[in-house]
C-alpha cells in the first residue's frame, strides 16, 4: 500500500514535470543551443566557429565517415576537409542507403563502434537511427545559421547537409520543345509509353516524389503512370545517361544535380521546372554515438555545416546539393534553393508510415514483383 502511494506520488511528480517540459518545448531549441555554446568553448578556426577542441581533434588524427554518397563524392569531401586540416585524415565507407543502415546497425549490435560521422539519404533512415540511439547529441555553433526545420528534433542529432530536388528532363533530339512536358501531369501522356525513366524504390528522392505528387494529384496519378511501363534505375547518372543517348525520351525524376553534370558534357537534354513544384529530398548528417574520434567528428560536422563545407557540397559535380544554410552562396547556375518551388514532406510521421505502401507500389510498377 505504501509502495502504491509512492508510485502515485511519483506519477504526479512526473506529470507535473512532463507538463513543464511540454510548455517549455518551443524554447528547448534555444536553450539547448545556449547550453551547448556555454558547455563547450567555441573557437574560431579558419573562417568558421567550432565547438570541437581542434588540438584534441588533431591529436586523434583521423575519423571514419559512413555515407550513401558516391566514391568520388566521398573522396572529394574528405580531400577538401584535409586541405583545411592536414593533420586529420578522413576515411570513408560508402554503400547504398539501405545497405549502409543494415551494416551500421549490425556493427553496433555486435559492439563495434568504428564510425564517427554518418550520412543517410532519407529522413526515415535517420529517424530510425535516431530512435535506436545512433547519434551523439552535438549542437554545433553553426546551428544558428540553420532554420529549425532543417535540424533534427531535438537539435544536435543530425542536420540537413544538403538538398537535392527533381523536375523533368527530356532529350532535345527525340522530343520537340512544344511536345515536352511542362507540368507533372504531362508525364502521364501515352506518348511516353516505354520511353520514360525513374529511380528504383531504393531512392529516398523517389519516395519523396511519389509521396508529394500523390498528395497533389491523388492515388490514381501513379497508377496512370504505371501504364506507361517506365524503367527504373538506381542512380541519377544512369537516368541521364540513357536520356542523353536517346534510350529514353523523358526522365520523370530529373535531379537538377544530374542534369548539370550531363549538360556540362554536352548532352542534348533540357530541364523543365514544373509550375506545380519540384520534389525535394534532404540528406542528413550527424555524429555517431560512441564515435571513437569525437573531437575530429565534431570538427568535421562543424566544417560541413559552415559555408566552407556547404560550398563544397554545392559545387562538387558529384554532389551539387543545394544548401539550406541561411547565408549560403548561390549554386552553379546562380540560383539558390529558395528560387525554386520545392515540395517536401511536412508531416514526417505520415511520410514515414507511407514507406511500405511506396515500396510495394513502386516495385510492382517497375516489374520487380
Amino acid at each position: 500500500m505504501k509502495d502504491g502511494n509512492k508510485l502515485r506520488a511519483a506519477s504526479r511528480r512526473a506529470v507535473v514535470k512532463g507538463g513543464i517540459a511540454l510548455a517549455a518545448l518551443p524554447l528547448a531549441t534555444v536553450f539547448t543551443k545556449r547550453a551547448s555554446a556555454q558547455g563547450r568553448p567555441v573557437t574560431k578556426v579558419l573562417d568558421f566557429t567550432t565547438g570541437a577542441d581542434v588540438a584534441k581533434a588533431e591529436a586523434e588524427g583521423e575519423f571514419l565517415f559512413y555515407t550513401h554518397d558516391s566514391e568520388p563524392a566521398a573522396a572529394g569531401i574528405l580531400e577538401a576537409f584535409s586541405k583545411d586540416f592536414p593533420k586529420i585524415k578522413g576515411k570513408y565507407i560508402r554503400a547504398q542507403n539501405g545497405a549502409l543502415f543494415s551494416k551500421t546497425i549490425a556493427e553496433r549490435s555486435a559492439g563495434n563502434f568504428s564510425v564517427d560521422v554518418i550520412q543517410f539519404s532519407e529522413p526515415a533512415t535517420a529517424l530510425d537511427f535516431q530512435k535506436r540511439g545512433g547519434y551523439t547529441r552535438y549542437v554545433s555553433p553553426q546551428t544558428d545559421a540553420y532554420a529549425t526545420e532543417h535540424l533534427s528534433n531535438p537539435v544536435g542529432d543530425y542536420f540537413w547537409v544538403g538538398v537535392t530536388f527533381a523536375g523533368i528532363s527530356y532529350n532535345t533530339e527525340k522530343v520537340k520543345a512544344e511536345d515536352a512536358p511542362k507540368a507533372w501531369k504531362d508525364i502521364l501522356k501515352p506518348i511516353w509509353l516505354n520511353a520514360a525513366n525513374v529511380k528504383q524504390s531504393t531512392s529516398g528522392m523517389q519516395f519523396v516524389q511519389w509521396y508529394e505528387l500523390r498528395k497533389l494529384y491523388g492515388d490514381g496519378f501513379w497508377k496512370e503512370f504505371a501504364k506507361l511501363r517506365p524503367r527504373g534505375f538506381d542512380s541519377r547518372v544512369q537516368l541521364f545517361d540513357r536520356l542523353a543517348k536517346g534510350d529514353d525520351k523523358i526522365c520523370a525524376l530529373a535531379e537538377y544535380a544530374g542534369y548539370l553534370l550531363h549538360k556540362e558534357k554536352g548532352a542534348p537534354i533540357a530541364f523543365v521546372t514544373p509550375d506545380d513544384g519540384m520534389p525535394a529530398a534532404q540528406l542528413l548528417n550527424g555524429v555517431a554515438d560512441k564515435a571513437p574520434h569525437p573531437e575530429a567528428a565534431r570538427l568535421f560536422v562543424d566544417w560541413l555545416m559552415s559555408n566552407r563545407g556547404q560550398s563544397h557540397y554545392q559545387n562538387n559535380p558529384y554532389l551539387y546539393y543545394g544548401s539550406v544554410r541561411k547565408d549560403a552562396a548561390p549554386m552553379p547556375g546562380n540560383k539558390r534553393l529558395k528560387d525554386f518551388k520545392l515540395l517536401a514532406p511536412s508531416d514526417m510521421d505520415h511520410f514515414m508510415a507511407s514507406r511500405d505502401a511506396f515500396n510495394k507500389e513502386w516495385n510492382a510498377m517497375l516489374g520487380l514483383l
Partner: protein, 570 residues
C-alpha cells in the same frame, strides 16, 4: 614413372599423424569458413521479428512463404542460367578441345588469349555489350540504321542477350577447367580409336568427351552456380528491359529502406536446393565409372592432325576471342576517350579526362594494390587448401568425405551479395577482432572461392590412377613425400589453372567485398561498379580498362616467373 625413395622411410605412425593433422586442419578451417556464416544466413532467413534487430526477436517461415510472389523472377533466373550455362560449356569444351587436342595454328598464343575474358571484370563485358547492342543507342544498331536499316539489328537487353554476354565471359572459365583435364589426358585412347577407323568428330564425341566428363561436369556445376549468382550482366542489360533475375531482385531488396534482408536471405537459402541437386547428379554420374587417364604408363601429349580443317578451327577460336575480348575492349577504349559515348563522335567529344580522373582517385590507387595482394594471397593459400580438400574428397578414406564435397559448394550456391551478409554477421561477433580488416577479406575470398578451386583440381585428380600413389606407398614413401614427388607434379596443370582462376576471381570480386571492406582495406571492383552507378559510363570504362591492364600485367609476371622457376627446377 620412377619414384626415388627417401633415405630414411618415416615410421607409419608419423605418416598417419602428418596426414591426419593436415586433413583435420583443412576440415576444421573449411567448416569454420563455410558453416559459421551459413548459420547466420539461415538464422536471418527465419527472422520474422523486428526489422534490423540482431539477434532476431522472432522466428518463422514467413520469408519462405513469400517466395512464390517472386516466381517470375525465379523463372527468369533459371531460364537465363540454363541457356547461358549450355552456351558457355559449348564454347569452353570446343575451344579446349581445339587448343589441347588438335594441331590448330598459333595454339600457344590462342590459349593465352582464351583466358583473357576471365581477367575482365564482368561489368566490363556487360557494359561493352550494352554500348554495342542497346536497341536505341547501341553502336551496332546506330551503324545499322545509318546504313539504311530500320529498328534494332541486335538487342542485348533481351533475355537471350543477357545469356549470350554471360556465356561469352564464363566460357573462358569452362575453357580453363576443361582444358586442364584435357591436358592431363593420355592420347593413346584417341589414337586407338583412330587406328580402328573412327573419324575425328566421332573420336571427339565418343572418346574425348566421355573421358573428360568429370571435368566437363565439374565445369558445368561451377559455371551454372556462377551464372545463378551473376549480377553485372543482369543489372546492366536486364534492368533497362524491366527483366529481373534473383541477384538483381536481391540487390534491390537489400538496398531499399527498410532493407528486406530476411527475404533476401530466404531467396538465397532456397538456392541451396537447386545447387545440391546439381551436385547430387554430378556425384552419381562420376561415381559410376573410372575416368583414369593418367596411369603408370608414360605418355607424351600428342595432338591430332586436322589437315586443312585446322584453319576452320583457328577461325572459330579467333572469332570467340574477337567477340569476347577484342570487340568489348575496343568498344570500351572508344567510349573511355569520349565525354559522352556515342557511335559517331565529333572531334570535340574526345578527351583523356576519364583516365586522368580514374588515376587521380587515391582510393582507386590503394584499392588496386590491396586487390593484387589479396589476389596473390587468396590464390596461393586457396590452391593449398582446395588442393588438399579435393584430394581428401576424391582420394582419402575419410568418413563423411561426401559431406565435405557438399559443404564446399555452399558458398557457390548462394548469391555472393546474400552470403556476404552471413559473413558480415559472423565475423562481426567473432572473438578475434578481424572485422573491417584486410584479413576478413582474405577469409571471405578463401571461403567463396573454395568451390572454384575444388572443382578445378578435382577434375584432374579423378584422372590420376591410384596405383601411382600406392606404388610410392609400397616403396615406403611418406604421405607428404608422395604428395610432393608424385601427386603434385602430375596435378600441375590443374593446380596452375586453379591458381590462375582464383587469383583473377579474387581481383575482380564484388559481392563479398562491398560489405566487408574496411576503410583501410578497400578493393577495386566495388569502386568500379560504384563508378558506373554514380559517375559515368565513360569513367567506368576507363577504370575497368585500367583494372584489366593491371590484372594482365600481373598474369604475365606470374607466367614468366613460373616458367623461369620450372626451367630452373629442370
Amino acid at each position: 614413372m620412377v619414384v626415388s625413395v627417401p633415405d630414411s622411410p618415416p615410421a607409419s605412425a608419423r605418416v598417419v599423424s602428418a596426414q591426419w593433422l593436415a586433413m583435420a586442419f583443412v576440415v576444421v578451417a573449411t567448416a569454420l569458413f563455410v558453416l559459421y556464416p551459413i548459420y547466420f544466413l539461415v538464422q536471418a532467413s527465419l527472422d520474422v521479428g523486428a526489422p534490423d534487430t540482431r539477434p532476431p526477436t522472432a522466428y518463422g517461415l514467413d520469408n519462405f512463404a513469400a517466395l512464390p510472389n517472386y516466381s517470375t523472377i525465379m523463372l527468369n533466373t533459371l531460364v537465363v542460367t540454363f541457356v547461358a550455362t549450355i552456351m558457355a560449356l559449348v564454347f569452353g569444351f570446343l575451344t579446349a578441345w581445339i587448343l589441347t587436342r588438335t594441331n590448330v595454328p598459333g595454339q600457344r598464343t590462342l590459349e593465352q588469349l582464351m583466358t583473357v575474358p576471365y581477367y575482365v571484370t564482368p561489368l566490363l563485358g556487360a557494359l561493352a555489350w550494352s554500348l554495342l547492342g542497346a536497341p536505341e543507342s547501341g553502336f551496332v544498331n546506330q551503324l545499322w540504321r545509318r546504313l539504311g536499316g530500320e529498328g534494332a539489328l541486335i538487342d542485348m537487353t533481351s533475355p537471350m542477350g543477357i545469356a549470350w554476354v554471360m556465356a561469352l565471359f564464363e566460357g573462358s572459365v569452362a575453357f580453363v577447367m576443361i582444358g586442364a583435364v584435357m591436358k592431363s589426358m593420355d592420347p593413346s585412347l584417341e589414337e586407338a580409336a583412330q587406328v580402328v577407323g573412327a573419324s575425328r568428330l566421332r573420336t571427339m564425341l565418343r572418346i574425348t568427351l566421355p573421358l573428360v566428363a568429370p571435368g566437363v561436369l565439374g565445369a558445368a556445376i561451377f559455371v551454372f552456380a556462377e551464372m545463378l549468382g551473376s549480377f553485372s550482366a543482369a543489372l546492366v542489360l536486364g534492368t533497362p528491359a524491366r527483366f529481373y533475375v534473383i541477384t538483381t531482385a536481391i540487390y534491390q531488396l537489400v538496398s531499399q529502406y527498410p532493407p528486406r534482408i530476411p527475404l533476401a536471405a530466404a531467396m538465397g537459402v532456397s538456392l541451396f536446393a537447386v545447387m545440391f541437386l546439381m551436385l547430387y547428379v554430378y556425384r552419381r554420374v562420376t561415381s559410376r565409372r573410372s575416368y583414369v587417364t593418367i596411369s603408370g604408363k608414360a605418355f607424351r601429349p600428342r595432338v591430332m592432325d586436322m589437315g586443312w580443317f585446322r584453319w576452320v578451327l583457328f577461325a572459330l577460336c579467333t572469332l570467340y576471342i574477337l567477340l569476347s575480348v577484342v570487340l568489348p575492349v575496343a568498344t570500351l577504349v572508344f567510349s573511355s576517350v569520349q565525354r559522352l559515348a556515342v557511335a559517331f563522335p565529333t572531334a570535340d567529344n574526345f578527351t583523356l579526362d576519364n583516365f586522368r580522373t580514374a588515376l587521380s582517385l587515391n582510393a582507386v590507387r590503394s584499392a588496386m594494390t590491396n586487390s593484387i595482394i589479396l589476389g596473390l594471397l587468396t590464390a596461393t593459400i586457396g590452391v593449398l587448401l582446395t588442393g588438399l580438400l579435393a584430394w581428401m574428397i576424391q582420394r582419402s578414406r575419410l568418413p563423411g568425405r561426401g559431406v565435405l564435397e557438399y559443404l564446399v559448394m555452399f558458398p557457390q550456391a548462394v548469391p555472393r551479395l546474400v552470403f556476404a551478409f552471413g559473413m558480415m554477421w559472423a565475423w562481426l561477433v567473432f572473438p578475434i577482432p578481424i572485422y573491417g580488416t584486410f584479413w576478413v577479406l582474405l577469409i571471405a575470398y578463401l571461403t567463396v572461392f573454395l568451390p572454384l578451386g575444388v572443382r578445378t583440381i578435382s577434375g584432374v585428380i579423378m584422372q590420376l590412377d591410384r596405383s601411382l600413389d600406392e606404388c610410392g606407398q609400397v616403396c615406403g614413401a611418406s604421405w607428404g613425400y608422395r604428395l610432393r614427388a608424385i601427386t603434385i607434379p602430375l596435378l600441375r596443370p590443374g593446380l596452375l589453372a586453379a591458381w590462375l582462376l582464383i587469383f583473377v576471381a579474387s581481383v575482380r570480386e564484388l559481392g563479398a567485398s562491398i560489405l566487408l571492406m574496411g576503410p583501410n582495406s578497400k578493393v577495386l571492383t566495388p569502386a568500379i561498379v560504384e563508378a558506373w552507378f554514380s559517375t559515368s559510363t565513360e569513367l567506368t570504362a576507363a577504370m575497368a580498362l585500367i583494372q584489366t591492364l593491371v590484372i594482365g600485367i600481373a598474369m604475365i609476371l606470374f607466367v614468366v616467373a613460373t616458367r623461369r622457376a620450372s626451367q630452373q627446377g629442370g
